[in-house]
Symmetry: C2
DNA sequence: TTATCGCGTCCAGTTACTTGACGCGATCAG
DNA sequence: CTGATCGCGTCAAGTAACTGGACGCGATAA
């Protein structure tokens, strides 16, 4: 099957992709679908359909009774290729109200249910300032929603990276108040007040820079056939999964999968995978954190 | 600030959105950025920039030294609006290799780290057949990767919905072998072999159709200020969160947040929220499941 | 039957976009 | 300082995309 590699103008290509998309997800589409979603005339839509037929004639046929173009059995995507995950993500985003259906190409949203506890949306203004600070190596003064909920004096941080885990966004930053590196929850930053050039050397954040291999295995407490299934699901080789991971982030992954719980506390079904080198990880993390703090202390006494 | 509500052709509008996007995320863009991502000439790109300036002149200025258009301090998005979550999702998707950077408008990917254990990608052919079966009320014969990994005879299911939780996709289906409704892991369906009209009445899936309110509270074992923080993070009112949820899916949400663990087993930090009406939920789930099974049994003895 | 609707197509006119050419200001190597 | 380079802006002329209007065709519904 061709991949639609002809030289097409960007807009035309997108419309042919749309045809591909609708055939895949709905099995059908209309000329008017094409015309309304792109705001083009019916004539132009006809021309586009003709264009698509030239490229992938076997993919569709017009059904007069249905008044629609119908996907054939030998349909093979000519444009959208292997980008299925992308559209699945869009479905999740729609259900979570992160996206409006109109932002996507879905017509009938498939009957899906998305289950999360949700979280507060990200403030664009905050994200913009944080990204700027990362890019331009600035330190920023922020209003941070403290644990107690009480009003706190503003804090000064020098962010240098974003991290995402288990649905949360973290801002990896140097903290002026503590003179060490920490994670700040992006959604808890209420406001970015001011900014100035940062003085800290972010390469001293060893806990971020250094990686370690998490060695993950199926929980040996599970019946052997369940262990095999778990191994298969996580695409393990030789019954184990090696996952490289920044030291500072290892905590979140361990937390998400209950890897930080002592063996035997939870039923094996609640802890399908276990971390084989847990002690090594916690120890490496603690020591790199200590090294980082000492290096920062030396730098500040020496430099200022 | 205007929202770019002029009547613009679809392609032009997308390009102005692109300008908005790059200004937001990178703080800058080039004429050639515009020209190359959309495959248009430099002249046309100039025209588009002029067009954008007419709509949101205060958003950008040209810096001759930088050879780029730079975001001003009073920048306010004129096109991309509040669709920030969408682009954050794209960043996650890129890091997970679900999307290629070229599928997005990002130039320099911000320094982000995405932490998951990953999973096998979804097979487009399988998804397509499953969606068809849902839409057309068909039953399908599938090759299902069993827990033991051994080859199993094919199973016959009649799917009627998709569900997403904790990174997994489930296919809610009637099972011919068991004459009840179950969840099938989408990634475990290796192949869809055949299909025919389904005979089962999906409205008998009470465990799916019926919803219950999960009453979620901060773990009382946490210090009060931590409880307040948890309540705030989950946007609780009066210290509790009411989350309506299909009975069949309640299990996954409980599993994801360790709500299904007896109080006292885990440290409170590992179980920041607790389910106040756990007994009610498990009981409702069991009874609706039983009702469903009985209804199906009556239908099959009476009907066939 | 008649009315309606969606598709396909021929037509002429408009807009978007192209290639080609030239000038301007900033940066850089010699 | 000078000439080369690069990215931007613009004028001009031609092409491709797209629009409006009009007409016929087949299927469906009143």
């Amino acid at each position: 099957m061709e991949d639609g590699s002809e030289r097409l103008r960007w807009g035309v290509r997108r419309r042919l992709e749309f045809i591909d998309f609708r055939l895949f997800w709905d099995g059908r589409f209309n000329r008017s679908d094409l015309a309304t979603t792109f705001g083009i005339s019916a004539q132009q839509a006809s021309a586009d359909i003709g264009h698509y037929e030239k490229i992938a004639a076997a993919n569709l046929r017009y059904d007069r009774a249905e008044k629609a173009y119908i996907r054939t059995d030998d349909f093979a995507p000519a444009f959208i290729g292997e980008t299925i995950e992308r559209y699945l993500l869009q479905l999740v985003a729609i259900e979570n109200r992160w996206m409006r259906p109109g932002d996507t190409w879905f017509d009938a949203i498939p009957p899906i249910e998305v289950l999360t506890l949700g979280r507060r949306p990200t403030d664009p203004a905050v994200l913009l300032r944080v990204l700027d600070a990362i890019r331009k190596h600035q330190e920023i003064d922020i209003d941070y929603a403290s644990l107690t909920g009480s009003v706190q004096p503003s804090r000064t941080i020098a962010p240098h990276a974003l991290a995402h885990s288990a649905g949360r966004w973290y801002v990896r930053s140097w903290s002026r108040d503590h003179n060490d590196f920490r994670d700040y929850n992006l959604n808890r930053i209420a406001k970015v007040i001011d900014h100035r050039p940062a003085s800290v050397d972010v390469s001293l954040d060893y806990e971020w820079a250094q990686k370690i291999n998490l060695v993950i295995r199926p929980n040996p407490g599970l019946p052997p056939e369940r262990q095999a299934a778990v191994a298969s699901e996580h695409a393990m080789t030789d019954g184990k999964l090696i996952r490289p991971c920044r030291l500072s982030l290892s905590f979140y992954l361990m937390s998400e999968y209950n890897l930080d719980v002592e063996p035997g506390v939870l039923k094996p079904e609640k802890q399908q995978i276990v971390l084989h080198n847990r002690d090594e990880v916690t120890q490496a993390r603690a020591s790199s954190r200590q090294m980082s703090i000492e290096a920062l202390a030396r730098a500040s006494t020496g430099g200022e």
